[in-house]
Symmetry: C2
Subunit: 256 residues, 2 copies
């Protein structure tokens, strides 16, 4: 059996292996190489870079046809990337694409997103990695623009690679025709009014995460939220080194 010369592409997401977003991503990426999907067996939104420290992880082969292999995994999105790289693939993938997420992962969502967490994990391993999200939470959203632009960015990354420690976060607005790609920065801001209180049937309080994004810099044309609000797909390069390097000197005198 001859080894395929095609690029090896690992695909995952956080909405689960059966979500429409990942189905559309697989369709658009498949022409670019040999695709292996390792995705959660159920929705794992908001899992950030969580890993399974307490429970074991199981994997099931769902499909193995030609250049497409699909596994489901009981773990988090990051677990999917780890087990894909460590156990299911015979070499390091040339590309990782995570998504297409049902809902925006712009601004501070990079911190909470399982979709982005999987791309960060690919980056940690040394795989050129992209997270792709559509600003529409609907289970039957129209992913055509997001799939088209995601494929275009994937082709660029396959051609050019990415520097060590940097991955890409692509968000696509939910409009019929996106103007173009806009390379942007993470919008400063946070979620507010985040908890909604209800009573369970016994009268005890329960709280649901909800809320809305408060944009601290809405006029900043370089921010990803501005790009999305103005008809562009926002592409933000993210780094896995979270050190605030320029602040180190400011607290050097704390060393006793």
């Amino acid at each position: 059996m001859a080894t395929s010369k095609k690029p090896l592409i690992l695909i995952t997401n956080d909405d689960g292996v059966n979500a429409l977003g990942i189905t559309k991503l697989i369709e658009s990426i498949a022409p670019l190489g040999k695709v292996v999907v390792v995705a959660p067996n159920r929705p794992r939104s908001g899992m950030s870079s969580a890993i399974s420290c307490i429970d074991p992880i199981r994997v099931s082969l769902l499909k193995d046809e030609g250049d497409l292999t699909v596994y489901s995994c009981t773990g988090t999105p990051v677990d999917c990337v780890k087990i894909g790289f460590d156990r299911l693939l015979d070499r390091k993938p040339d590309l990782l694409v995570s998504g297409i997420n049902h809902g925006s992962n712009a601004a501070i969502a990079v911190i909470y997103s399982g979709t982005v967490g999987a791309a960060l994990e690919g980056c940690i391993i040394g795989i050129p990695s992209i997270a792709v999200s559509l600003t529409d939470h609907s289970p039957c959203a129209d992913f055509s623009e997001a799939a088209r632009i995601g494929k275009s960015v994937a082709e660029k990354v396959l051609q050019n690679g990415l520097p060590e420690g940097i991955c890409l976060n692509l968000n696509v607005p939910n409009i019929p025709k996106v103007k173009s790609l806009k390379v942007s920065s993470q919008t400063p801001g946070r979620w507010v009014r985040e908890l909604e209180e209800m009573k369970d049937p016994t009268g005890k309080s329960i709280f649901w995460l909800t809320g809305e994004f408060f944009n601290q810099d809405p006029a900043n044309e370089n921010s990803d939220e501005w790009a999305l609000a103005n008809g562009y797909a926002a592409l933000v390069p993210l780094r896995i080194d979270m050190t605030a390097h320029d602040f180190i000197q400011k607290i050097k005198h704390w060393e006793e």
Copy 2:
């Protein structure tokens, strides 16, 4: 009832409200102000910045005596911070301390750690925030040096504040006497050989996350792993803006 003039300090962790590490942290921080603890009701290690998107969150008041109030929460470490700030406190805390974690959160662990996730969340809200970890996983580790140094850093942060968007990640080596604090950067590297395969009683494969840290830059005296290996407590300032700002220009020509 007069309003307390004492600093209001929110404490959380990821090992759970009953862990020894948070108990020792509460003891050391209590003299600095009014302390409110909101911590997970069970171990939530490796939860990163995960949030509860699917399940509701419940809170229980465990203690309310003098200047110490303790809640347990069914959510993640980040959920604890959100519900503490949004629902349980009458004003924004002057300080958040997360820990003391049983085990190191140096280097790439910042990405996976629930302890650090909680400090990042405090930072997002605008609270000066510190994550504190001891490089010893034992449930009955000796937290005395970590508690002493954690308190010292907490005092400095209460005095000086922290800039918007920056929090602190403190790791303390498991030795009887730490040399001093060393302001450091996040060591580049990653975990390798991460998955151990076993069979469940029915003969099916299960995988456990394990492995070891591969340090890509072991000689770097400015890195947190070097500090810890050489008897120092490592203090790394982290930023919540993950944008790789200096890479933006390099891919500007991708905009069509």
